[in-house]
Symmetry: C2
Subunit: 232 residues, 2 copies
């Protein structure tokens, strides 16, 4: 069933006008038409049944179905900016994996150093569509572009730097198997790695190096793969 | 470090001519040149240091470094063919996640029903590059396109059908946490789901329904995400 997330609190019986993006998605991408059933995700995480009206420009909400799922813990993914359109792939996979917040970061060795508004809008559109498809209760949030040295852990959360080649001994740690549901911050650095300054900053801020196993994952995959483990 | 997989058994001191694809990858993609160090993965899983020669058309192997990693269990991913180029994404992610063999399948409701040789060649090229990058000992293999009703489990292996919405009770099963390293077969069906005939065929062949949690993953992600769990 197709599910659309709307920006308002929904009630049974309500008629909701659709955004041009949702109209296009329903008619051109999903080939739905007037009279077809659909699901609506309300602000707050409730899910409703609805029917498409008026040539797919609006919906009538019929009844409440239940509550959408929430990830069992809050994951923030700090990800160094990537060349080309690869950050979009990160946003897409992170939305599907259940990450709550993604923060693009700039490091000493990041090649891309700023984000144009159009690009950020594109990421938000991708996050919305991929989050809707995964049927989660809220859309992946995208934070403002941040310098690595402004990243800090919130109280009660644990931070991990995803290293393709950590020092010996890190391979055997599997912190995702711990039973707690504390928030987790994951950090994926640039291809060129961190500067010595940054490594000591991260140590001081209590970020621990973590390996997901012997495989060397691409930057586009590392955060999503780690999140799947932490949300199992 | 860049690592290339060659189709021969490598020895120290050997000079190896590079394929046009490897030459292009080294020079144009990775910007490496004569005299730069590189790693070579031999048939059999040994890794060697080498140096680029002759304008990046060949390598001289200098010394053995060690053995590349192998996934801790053999995973076969049976994946229904997908429209457009989406199967390439599956091949890319499965290579990174550590899947050993991927088999494209045709089901009653699969829209794409055959594979052109060019497309299969493209998948092989993607599998090679993504496997090299992950530094695994062998390249993801791509099996021949197979009808769902010819799929069967090998002795000693377990089979799971990845269901976005399995019956109640399946959510709590986490077979990936079992300590054994038995081979696993994962099956990702088409968007339209399986026919009743196919469901009873799969039951008879001992494939169990499995959910990875409450999220509905896209077909392109489901197999890779499940494999990350089974290989942790």
């Amino acid at each position: 069933m197709v599910r659309l997330a709307v920006d308002e609190v929904v009630q049974s019986g309500q008629i909701i006008g659709l955004s041009p993006e949702h109209q296009h998605y329903l008619a051109a991408v999903m080939r739905r038409q007037e009279g077809d059933p659909i699901e609506v995700l309300s602000v707050g995480g409730l899910v409703f049944r609805a029917v498409i009206l008026l040539g797919a420009t609006a919906l009538r909400v019929t009844e409440q179905m239940g509550r959408a799922w929430k990830p069992r813990r809050h994951i923030t993914l700090y990800q160094a900016l990537l060349k080309g359109d690869h950050f979009s792939e990160v946003v897409d996979r992170a939305s599907q994996a259940g990450v709550s917040l993604i923060v693009p970061i700039v490091t000493d060795r990041t090649i891309v150093r700023d984000v144009r508004p159009q690009r950020e809008n594109r990421w938000r559109a991708i996050a919305k569509e991929a989050s809707e498809q995964s049927q989660r209760a809220s859309i992946l949030e995208i934070g403002p572009c941040t310098l690595l040295k402004e990243v800090a852990l919130l109280d009660g959360s644990k931070g991990f730097v995803l290293h393709p080649h950590p020092a010996k001994g890190h391979h055997s740690k599997k912190p995702w198997l711990e039973a707690d549901a504390n928030p987790v911050a994951l950090l994926v650095g640039p291809e060129g790695g961190f500067s010595a300054d940054e490594v000591s900053y991260l140590e001081q801020k209590q970020f621990e190096p973590l390996s997901l196993g012997p495989s060397v994952y691409r930057s586009e995959n590392a955060g999503a793969f780690a999140s799947v483990l932490f949300l199992q």
